[in-house]
Each structure stands twice: as C-alpha cells, then as structure tokens.
C-alpha cells in the first residue's frame, strides 16, 4: 500500500513527459536465467613495483604532463649508482630514447643494498644533472684568486699545464708537494691505483672531520676500522647517532633497522638531541655530550658483575693473557684471574656514576643494560661520527661500544656486528704499482702517530708554520672552506700562491672553495661517471656499477661514444678517464715508470679505456660474476651495464674463526708463547684489495697468518699484533698512551665541569645531519633545498627562558675564535645546557652571479685587521630566471648560517679526529647584529691549534722502534716500509 504523497507525485509524473532516464547496459550477459553467481573478475595483470628487467631496454610509459591525453613515451632504463652519500644506493635512469633526456631516477630493485628504495637524495640527482647553474666547461681563473673572474679553456690546456707541473715536481723529488684532497671518493680503490703509480703520498681526505674517531676505536680492538651491523636479524640495536646513522648508509641501514624492529628487536638510541630515530626508539637516552662512554662502561660493568657475558667467546678471543702478563705479572695467567681483574677494573662504573656523568637516570641505564644482557649474541651496534667525532677521547666511545659486542659475543654472527672487510669487495686493479717511498708530513705529521687518516684539518696551520708548501693541490668534490672547521684559515692559505702553487678544483658545482681555485674542472654527478662501489650495508657482500647513463643509452641505441664527454652535458667529464689521461700526460714516454700502470691489459703499450679497466676487473677479480654473466651469454662488463649490481654473497661470513688450510699450514711454525702461526710462504695476491692491516714478515719466521687457540684449533684470527681482539692494546701502550690501553672513560673537552651555565655557557652540538642534504653537492638540488634550507639553533625551553629568547629570536653564539648569529628554535628536544645546530647549511657566495643561487646567500666578506674576518649576508636566496622555470618559483629565502667558520680545529691527540663539540657562550643578539653575521679571528684560531697540538705525544718522543707510526696499523695509501722511519732513524726489524 503506497502513501498518498507518493501516489500524488507519481500521478503528476505520469501525466507529464519526462526527460529520458537511460536504461543500463550491463557489461556481461548477466540477465540470463541462470542463478549461478557472476564470475569473479579476473585481474588482467598483477601489480608490480618496478618495470620488469627484461623490458629495461625498451620501456613505455604515459607522459603524466600530457594527462588527460595518453601520450606514450619510450625509455631505456639504465642502472647506475647514486653519488649523494656513501651508501651507493642503486638508481634506474629513465632515458627518453627520442630526446636523450633523463626523465627521472627511481630505485634499482636489483641492487642488494638499497633493494629498489631510495631516500630523497637519490631521485634528486635529476636536479643536479639539469641544474642551470652547473659548471659545464673547464674554467681557469683570469684575475686574482677569489676575484671571481674566469675564462673558459679547453681540457687539453688544463691537462697539459697540470700534468707538466706534476711531472716537474716528481722529477725534482718534490713528491710531497702534490696533494689530492678528496671529499666524496667515487670509486673504491681507484686512487689507490693512480697515486702510487705517481710515486707520491698525496692522498688527503675529509675523514678527520668525519670518522677518524670511530675508526680508531674499532681498529684498536680488531685491526679493522669499520663496523658492519646486521640490523635486520638483531635482537638489540644500539645506535650512538642521529638519523639512524648520522646519514651514513642512511637508506640501506634504515631499511634493515626497521625490519629488525618489526621483527621484535629493541632499538636503543643514545643521542643528546631528539632526532627522528630517537623518537622511534624503544629507549632514547639523552646524555650530556661526551658521557656516552660512562654509560657504555656501566652497561659493561653490569654484564661483568652479573656474569651475563659470553665467557666462552671472551676466553677464546680476547687477549686477556697479554693483559695479565703485562699488567699483573705476579698473577697466574688464567682466565679466572682475568675475570677477577675485569670485575675490579670496571666496578667503579656503576649506574649511579653513569647517571651523574650523563644526566640520564640510573633506572633507565639499568633498564637498557638488562635489554642488552638479553641480546643472546645478537647485538647490532653502530656509531659513525656523532659522539665519536665530537669529543676529546671520542674514539674511546667506539672502543667501549665494541666492548659490548665483545662481551656479548656479537661479532661476526647473524644479528651481530661484523667488520667491514668481511662484507666489502674491492676488485684488484690491473698493473698496480708498488708502495711509494715517500712520507708526506703535511698530512701525516709526527705529532699524531696513531691518527686515522690524514690530519687534513691542520693543513692551513702547517703551511702557515712553514712545514712545507703545496705545488699542486686538488680539491675533489671537497669544499674545505665550508665543510671544515676554521674555514677562514683555509681561505687565507688558498689565496696565498706561495703556499699553494696551483689549485685544481674537481667539482660538478660551484662552491666556496672553488671560488679560490685556479682551475675548476667539471666532473660528472652520479649519472655521468664510472665507478665501482661496494659497501658494507648488511650481512652480505655486493658490488655495484655507476655508469654515465647517457653514454650507455647511446650505446644501446647504436651510437656508441669513446669518451664520456661526448655523452655528458657540455664538456662535463668523468674522473676515471680524466685521471688516466692526466697520468698518461705526466709520463708520456713511460720513462718515469708511471705510464705502465695505465696501459691496457689487452693492448700492450696502449692507453687503457674505461671498458678495459672495468672489464678486466669484472672478468678476473669478482667471484661468481663471470659465471653469472656466462649463463646469460654476456661478458661480465655487459652484465654489470645491464643490471647495475651483482650480489657476491648473502649472509655473514667472518674470517677470524676460519681454520687455516693444510696448504697454509704446510710450512707454518707456531710461537709457543703467543700461539701465533707464521709462514714463510709469500702472500698470494688477493682479488679483494679492501685495505687490511699489514704485518711485515719476520726474517726468521715469516708473516703471521693465524693463531692456535686454547682448544688446539688453528684459525685465521684477527689482524692485530696478538691475532686476537685487543682488550689490552699494546699499540696504545707502546706508543705513548698506556693509560688508555684498555677501554676506559676519558673526559670530553666539554665535560660538565668545564661548562659554567651561570655564565650562559653551553655545549654546541653541530654533528647532526639532515638526511636530505649532503654538504656541498646537494647545493644544486632544488627538491632537496625546498625541503631543508635552514639551520636554527635548538635551545631548551629553560635556557631560552633564562636568556629571554623565543622561537625566531636572534642569538649570538660565541666560540673560542669568533661568533655567529642565528635564529633559535625553542624545544624540549635538546638537553638543557646544550644547543644544537645542523652543519649542513649556511652556504654563501661572494658575487650575485657566483653560482649556486638556489642554495647560497649573497654575502659581504671583509678583512678588518690581520686575521680578522667579518661576514654579513646581503640577501638570502631569491627566485631567478633560468632555463628551468622552477627557479622563478623559489619561495624560500633562508640559506642557513655557516657556523663551521667560527670553530677552531680540535684534533684529538690520539685519533686525529676533529672534536666538533664547541664550548660556547650565548647572548641575545644586539641591535647591530644581523641574522647570518659571522666574525672570526684566525690568529686566535692558530693559538687554539697550538693548544691542542700541545696535548699530543709525538712519535719522535714515544716511538718504540724509530718509526713514525705502528707499521701494522691501517693507513690508507700505505708507503713502503722505508718511508715509515723517522728522519735520522735507521731501519729496524
């Protein structure tokens, strides 16, 4: 029965002509009488994450900018490797086959480290390729250094002048006047192939502003200096860092840390600042900077006194016997006596002690200790920069962190932490030259016999002191004026042609340092160069191939080129070809013995090509690759060009517990006291040339190759003097630091006792990175700068209140040698008494058209007196017209503040690491202060350098054998043994 309203309305509708309602036409004949249910629609195609590999050569996608029209574009997908940090994540370049333009970069699913995923920096490679401000041609300075006048020159002119100069220096025995200073190395092992061929000790690096501390701490345990944590399989992950790993191996490790966490691992983070990672941790500890060691030792003490450490592992692998013999000769040499001593040694490191030092509650430290005690041998740890790079004695943070791995037996096992060399593969290069016979004291001074990597931060001061001069100085993807502390001291020496004769800047972009160069030579970014990469990203081992994507695309399209400049934009080159060509021109007739390194292994006497270089390495020195390639009918080089990566091995594979083979034992002898196994057989050349410590063969016994353990097994052991994990470092003892021979607590230079908060003193923590930026070379990535372009000073609410500051107010941060003015960000995410400011920002330029306009502020730089420098921002970042319409849409103005300029050098006397933390004094900015103001006194900077130099124990005073440095200890670009001796000292065994 219908209602009256409805009836009335229906009646009205019936009497009127209605607009037509279309009947339905069902897509299938569903209106049959059958009562069978409708068939379930079948998916036409499963969803995929990536284009299938078999279609990479020819892939079609619709152009999204043409929507709603469907316009197909054809691409060839070329694998390469990102160049925007050390992770070496895989990328796929989408190259339009008609225009030969790169449309985008996505991940390479075949890359075992990154597995198809990238952080923001990877896809932003596109910005770097098409940056309208990038340098496309070789430039030579026309006026004075720093005047900003340039002329375009040919590559031939540049190569001839540089090669001629280097040749002259070599012939005149001035090998130490050639320095190659690298920021981001491209190709593992490449410069180890080039520089020894020249016979020079020229390598200089950024490591002492990066990881010298962590390396030293780890190497003093096991000889090897880098960790390789297996986060994905860990039960406990312990990070002393920010942003997962301070931006290091960010993406690959981030993935595995998340996997580990999702599988139930506990994540513990020690970071003074509330970072993104700390916010996701199960336990976040915010210690006073420099007190991390106290916490670690308290945890170690807990494991020791409660007996919750892996006794079997410690007994088997730690050099406890050496410790007892040396320090307690009155005691029987038994493990039980060692255990008693261990308890005594660490009894003072109670939770309460650690709480007092760090400001973290004793309850939380105890809670964390109990979590670690339950790790069941699956403790994955990592510290790279952060506390190890920030504090006096920071290397001891790494040593004490590794102590926990030792105590829990979490070394070289699934879910634990391995050494990098077990997960890294650098193929042997052809025609490798012997070690050079020179030692460069400008980079390896006598005062730092145990430093890890070069003392590059001290170069300006050494030059000012007249310790030497530099004839030819390469800065390669490196910007020391900006990235290093004490940048004004760098500026002073770079402008002094009597100290640096020729400055060659190899870079894809403009930079503050490049402005003071004589030549700027444009080198390709990640999509424009050849490199071979291998990094310890997880439990496994892989290599990846970085290649110029347009060059490879042209080859696939039947238009091969012989030189990467013919494929790259402008005349942008790549370094492999550049160094080969430069080396050839240094020694064109081969009489210097340099040229032969660069001769083709396939065409005797001819210059090697990039295809031959990589082809030879892949064919001869990458296990499994030739076989995998042959299965597909490819050469190994073709395989790598097609897939971009090759997995050598899955899973952990430590070497220390590997039994020596019968062949190795054939001529071996065993020292009855130490158990060390020696052989006189010469070492076979290794296909993997990842650096290892080196032990000079004993004239009577030969070289050490292993160790006989308590249970009689004869295994490889660790590459240390004892062949064991060195709880007791005879190296530290013998080279002037006996008080640090065992893991212990060192007061940081910013220990609370040194900070008077009543005088508004604080600790400036500058060691945190932004994972979206990568120092200088992200400066032309518009997408990245749109995300991150300011670096305010983090300040706790209580400190801000005391100073009368609110978010956005200006603060003057006064350091030992100057000050900077920045805005504050008031937050609860930083400890009271500590301020923080990211070091990734504050780029500047001196001329309006000086390049890098989307990331740099235009500044005025004045020298007001001798050594007194003042910088003021004229204006920030502004939109501008260019070939890229996006540059007119720039909406951000802030370029950040360059705090590093106001930091004096703080080289740790043991590791050489620049200790980044600064003791500062805070003041509200005055009426004449402006945002971005900087003042520096380089005379004072030199005084501070002398203060820190006075802390050292030079080899000339402490060397036990007349050498500059322990010969066995890792040292990049190791010279020949004869160069190790101090001047006036003879050769000793």
């Amino acid at each position: 029965m219908t209602t009256s309203l409805l009836n009335r309305l229906l009646g009205t509708f019936s009497q009127r002509s209605q607009s037509r309602v279309e009947p339905l036409t069902p897509p299938v004949q569903a209106y049959v009488k059958s009562t069978a249910p409708a068939a379930t629609p079948i998916s036409s195609q499963e969803l995929r994450d990536y284009p299938p590999v078999e279609r990479w050569n020819d892939w079609t996608e619709y152009d999204p900018k043409e929507w709603p029209r469907k316009v197909a574009r054809r691409y060839t997908l070329v694998p390469t490797v990102c160049f925007n940090c050390e992770s070496a994540c895989g990328l796929l370049a989408y190259v339009d086959v008609e225009t030969l333009k790169i449309k985008k970069f996505e991940g390479n699913p075949l890359h075992p480290g990154s597995r198809g995923r990238n952080c923001a920096k990877g896809p932003a490679t596109l910005n770097q390729v098409y940056d309208p401000d990038r340098i496309l041609y070789p430039l030579k300075r026309a006026g004075k250094r720093g005047e900003g006048k340039w002329v375009r020159v040919s590559w031939d002119e540049a190569l001839n002048e540089i090669a001629g100069r280097i040749r002259k220096a070599i012939i005149e025995q001035r090998q130490t006047e050639i320095i190659y200073h690298v920021g981001r190395p491209g190709h593992d092992g490449f410069m180890e192939w080039v520089l020894p061929a020249w016979g020079v000790d020229a390598h200089n690096s950024h490591t002492n502003v990066c990881s010298s501390g962590a390396r030293c701490g780890q190497a003093m345990w096991m000889g090897l200096d880098r960790p390789s944590p297996d986060h994905a399989n860990a039960r406990v992950i312990l990070l002393i860092s920010s942003h997962l790993e301070t931006g290091h191996y960010f993406n690959p490790h981030a993935q595995r840390i998340m996997e580990g966490k999702m599988a139930g691992a506990k994540l513990i983070v020690l970071d003074t600042r509330l970072s993104n990672t700390a916010s996701l941790a199960d336990e976040w500890l915010s210690p006073w900077p420099g007190s991390e060691t106290a916490i670690l030792l308290a945890i170690a003490n807990y494991l020791i006194r409660t007996g919750q450490y892996n006794r079997d592992f410690v007994r088997r692998w730690v050099n406890w016997a050496d410790y007892l013999r040396a320090e307690h000769p009155d005691l029987p040499v038994s493990f039980e006596h060692f255990e008693m001593k261990l308890q005594e040694l660490y009894a003072q490191y109670t939770f309460e002690f650690a709480a007092q030092e760090s400001g973290v509650s004793a309850e939380q430290i105890e809670r964390v200790a109990k979590i670690i005690a339950r790790c069941e041998g699956k403790l994955a740890t990592h510290s790279w920069r952060s506390a190890t790079s920030a504090n006096l004695g920071g290397w001891m943070v790494a040593r004490c962190l590794w102590f926990l791995n030792v105590l829990t037996g979490s070394i070289g096992v699934e879910g634990g932490t391995s050494a990098n060399v077990w997960d890294k593969w650098i193929p042997r290069h052809p025609n490798m030259a012997p070690h050079p016979k020179v030692w460069n004291e400008l980079t390896w001074p006598q005062e730092y016999p145990l430093n890890f990597y070069e003392m590059s931060i001290l170069l300006p001061h050494f030059l000012k002191e007249g310790r030497g001069k530099v004839d030819t100085y390469f800065t390669r993807v490196y910007n020391p004026i900006w990235t290093n502390p004490d940048g004004m001291s760098w500026l002073e020496v770079l402008t002094d042609e009597s100290k640096i004769g020729l400055h060659v800047h190899l870079s894809p972009t403009w930079s503050e340092t490049g402005w003071f160069a004589d030549y700027i030579l444009p080198m390709g970014v990640g999509a424009e160069r050849h490199d071979m990469m291998s990094q310890e990203t997880h439990a496994g081992c892989w290599i990846a191939f970085r290649q110029p994507v347009l060059r490879e695309a042209m080859r696939r399209l039947g238009k091969p080129v012989k030189d990467t400049r013919d494929a790259n934009p402008g005349e942008v080159w790549e370094e492999v070809e550049f160094w080969i060509e430069l080396s050839w021109r240094i020694d064109p007739d081969g009489k210097l013995g340099i040229r032969k390194t660069f001769e083709s292994p396939y065409r005797p006497g001819q210059k090697i090509t990039v295809d031959e270089l990589y082809g030879w390495m892949f064919e001869n020195h990458v296990p499994g690759l030739p076989e995998a390639a042959a299965k597909e009918g490819l050469t190994p080089l073709e395989y790598m060009r097609r897939y971009g990566a090759f997995e050598i091995r899955k899973g952990v594979q430590p070497t220390f517990d590997k039994p020596l083979s019968s062949a190795e034992l054939a001529d071996a002898t065993i020292d009855p006291d130490t158990g060390i196994v020696y052989t006189k057989a010469p070492a076979p050349p290794s296909s993997n040339i990842t650096p290892l410590p080196y032990f000079e063969p004993d004239p009577e016994r030969g070289r050490p190759i292993g160790i006989k353990l308590e249970d009689g097994s004869i295994v490889a052991g660790f590459p240390t003097p004892s062949r064991r994990l060195e709880f007791y470092s005879t190296t530290l003892r013998d080279w002037g630091w006996p008080e640090y021979a065992i893991p212990t607590y060192i007061h940081s230079h910013v220990h609370p006792s040194k900070i008077d908060r009543s005088k508004n003193e604080a600790v400036l923590l500058s060691t945190f990175r932004l994972p979206t930026l990568i120092h200088t070379r992200s400066g032309n990535a518009k997408w990245l700068y749109e995300i991150s372009h300011k670096n305010p000073v983090w300040i706790h609410t209580s400190d801000a209140e005391r100073l009368g500051l609110r978010t956005g107010d200006l603060v003057k941060v006064i350091t030992e040698i100057g000050y900077f003015v920045d805005r504050v960000w008031v937050t609860e995410g930083i400890r009271p008494g500590v301020i923080a400011c990211s070091h990734h920002l504050g780029r500047w330029r001196l001329q309006e058209d000086g390049g890098g306009r989307l990331s740099t502020a235009l500044v005025e730089l004045k020298q007001e007196g001798q050594g007194e420098w003042r910088m003021r921002q004229i204006h920030g970042i502004r939109p501008y017209e260019s070939d890229d319409p996006d540059t007119a849409r720039i909406w951000w103005e802030d370029a950040g503040v360059h705090q590093n300029l106001t930091f004096a050098v703080h080289p740790d006397p043991v590791s050489g690491m620049h200790c980044w933390h600064q003791k500062v004094r805070l003041e509200p900015a005055g009426p004449n202060d402006r945002y971005g103001d900087i003042y520096v006194d380089t005379k004072r900077a030199h005084e501070v350098y002398r203060e820190w130099l006075a802390m050292t124990r030079p080899a000339s005073k402490v060397s036990p054998n007349g050498m500059r440095r322990p010969h066995w200890l890792l040292r990049p670009f190791r010279p020949a043994r004869e160069a190790y001796f101090l001047p006036g000292k003879g050769k000793k065994s």
Partner: protein, 315 residues
C-alpha cells in the same frame, strides 16, 4: 504498479530524488521540482534557503553515505562502499558525479532510477530476460543496501528542524523505497553479514566513557545516527551548550559537562527518550508496511540494547 507508464513515472521520481540529494538544486532542477505541487509547497520559493539547508543537513549533520551507517569504521569508502561499487560495475553503471564515495544516497537513487528505466525499456521491448534481470538487481539492491539504512538516515534528518523541504524529501525517500519493496517483493536476508574492508580498528578508547561514546556514535552498533544537531539539542534540553566539534568530541563533552553539573541522570533519561521515540517510529513504519519488518527489526534491537548500555554503563 508494474505497467510501463507507472515504471516511467517511477524512474523519473527516483531520478529526481537522487538529483535532489546529490547537491542543492540548480535553477533547472528547482524549476522541475516546483512543478510537483507537494514539493513546491515546502520550498517557499527561496533557492538560497534551500542551499543553506542542504549544506546544514547533509554537509554538517547527517552524511548520506551508506557505509557510515553499516560499517564500524565511521569512514568513507569502507567495505559497504566497495560492495556498492561492485554492484554498479556488474550492472554497467558509471557514476559521472564525484561525491566522495560511490554509496552516496543520491547516487544509489540514480542507480535505482536507471534500473527502473531498464525494466521499463525491457518491458516495452518484450525482452523478458532483461526485464527479470533488472527486477532481480533492484530487489537485491534494495534488500542489501538502500532499505537497510535509509530509514535510519531519514529519521536523523527528520529530527533536525532545518527546512521542511528536506524533511519532506526524507519521508518521500523512505516511502518510495517501501513502495519498491512491495512492488518487487525481494527475498529478505536472514541475517545481514558485515565483512569489514579492514579490521574495524576503531581507536582504542582509554576509558569506559570513551567506549560508550564510540558505541553511541556508531549507527550499526547504537541503532541511531546521532548528528551534531542531536548533540546540540540534547545539551539544550539540559540547559547548557556544547561547542561544535567532531561527533565523538561533542558526545563526550556532553557527558563530561553533564557530569560536571551533576546532570548525568537527566542526560541518560533524555537519551533514553530519544531512543525510545526512535523505536516507536520504526515500529510505526513496520506497522504501515510489513515489508520493513525484517529490515528494521535489527535496528530496533540495537536501540533497545543501547538504552540498556547507557543505563548500566553509567550506573
């Protein structure tokens, strides 16, 4: 009821109802509706007032999406919306209007109109297979979807003293559906099953009051759609006001304020009255048309249970 002329009238009516529900009436639709005397009588000739009322009723108070009444997530495009979309797909219906989700009442009515048109066309062409197919689809759609929730939606609209036009439209919507149910006599589902598109992960409530509030604002549990206007009305009856916010916050504030002023018993009583009234309305509709009984009985039971929960939950 099933002759061609009547079917044409029905398809036109369903189509107009659908279009009136999808958006405030355009001038053309306004003219079309004004021809219908009974509708014209409640429009008072002011299209701006209708637009305001439309926004007030459907934009801020009684959202006309089936999934909000039949699923627990209180989100758009949950399981029910997927099922409706699948039905559209099976029948070859491609909505041209973008209203946020396929289960908007207006779209469902336009779909119904298209099915009636199919029935009518098939009847005049003597295409019996298509004729019976269309009727089968309509019957299923009414029994599984439209008739399940529209009465609850309509009651929520009728509780709002907004504009007589939309209250009349709500009544008309229910009457039309009832008429179609009688015409098509579909087999009724014994017990409608609810399969969530995702597990009903309503945020875990930290306390009992939160759990009670969550129950009351989830129609498929409470048996009623409590709109913001309902909350305002309840508060006004108790002599205070609650600020406009999301429904959860408003209902929670209602209880907390009542607790603050020791009026909890008054609130409970008022709520019970509202729910009891709704039960009576449902029974009245059932009494008018027996076809409603299996569809509305579950809602009446939910209301009864909600009354019990409110009483016992607050002691």
């Amino acid at each position: 009821m099933n002759d061609h002329t009547t079917l044409v009238a029905r398809q036109a009516m369903a189509d107009m109802i659908g279009r009136l529900l999808l958006a405030p009436p355009s001038p053309a639709l306004w003219e079309e509706a004004a021809i219908l005397v009974d509708l014209a009588a409640v429009t008072d000739n002011r299209p701006e007032a209708l637009a305001i009322a439309y926004e007030y009723v459907f934009g801020r108070n009684v959202y006309p999406y089936e999934s909000l009444y039949c699923d627990e997530e209180l989100m758009l495009n949950t399981a029910t919306a997927e099922q409706v979309a699948a039905t559209y797909n099976t029948c070859g219906f491609l909505p041209t209007q973008n209203v946020g989700a396929p289960d908007h009442l207006g779209l469902e009515f336009i779909f119904l109109a298209r099915l009636i048109a199919t029935e009518a066309t098939a009847l005049s062409a003597e295409n019996l297979d298509r004729y019976y197919w269309a009727r089968q689809q309509m019957a299923a759609f009414l029994a599984d979807h439209l008739a399940v929730w529209v009465p609850i939606w309509a009651r929520a609209v009728q509780r709002i003293p907004a504009h007589p036009f939309y209250q009349t439209l709500a009544s008309l919507t229910v009457e039309f559906i009832g008429s179609e149910l009688e015409r098509l006599s579909p087999p009724m589902p014994v017990s409608p099953t609810y399969i969530p598109l995702q597990s009903a992960t309503a945020p875990a409530e930290v306390d009992e009051l939160g759990a009670l509030v969550r129950h009351l604002i989830t129609p498929v549990r409470a048996g009623i759609f409590l709109s913001r206007a309902d909350c305002t009305m309840l508060a006004r009856q108790l002599g205070f006001s609650v600020p406009i916010a999301d429904r959860f916050t408003m209902v929670r504030t209602l209880f907390e304020t009542a607790g603050h002023f020791e009026q909890v018993i008054d609130l409970v009583t008022t709520l019970e009255n509202v729910m009891s009234n709704e039960i009576q309305e449902l029974h009245r509709l059932i009494a008018t048309q027996s076809v409603w009984q299996p569809l509305l009985q579950p809602w009446a039971q939910r209301l009864t249970q909600s009354i019990h929960i409110v009483r016992t939950g607050l002691g």
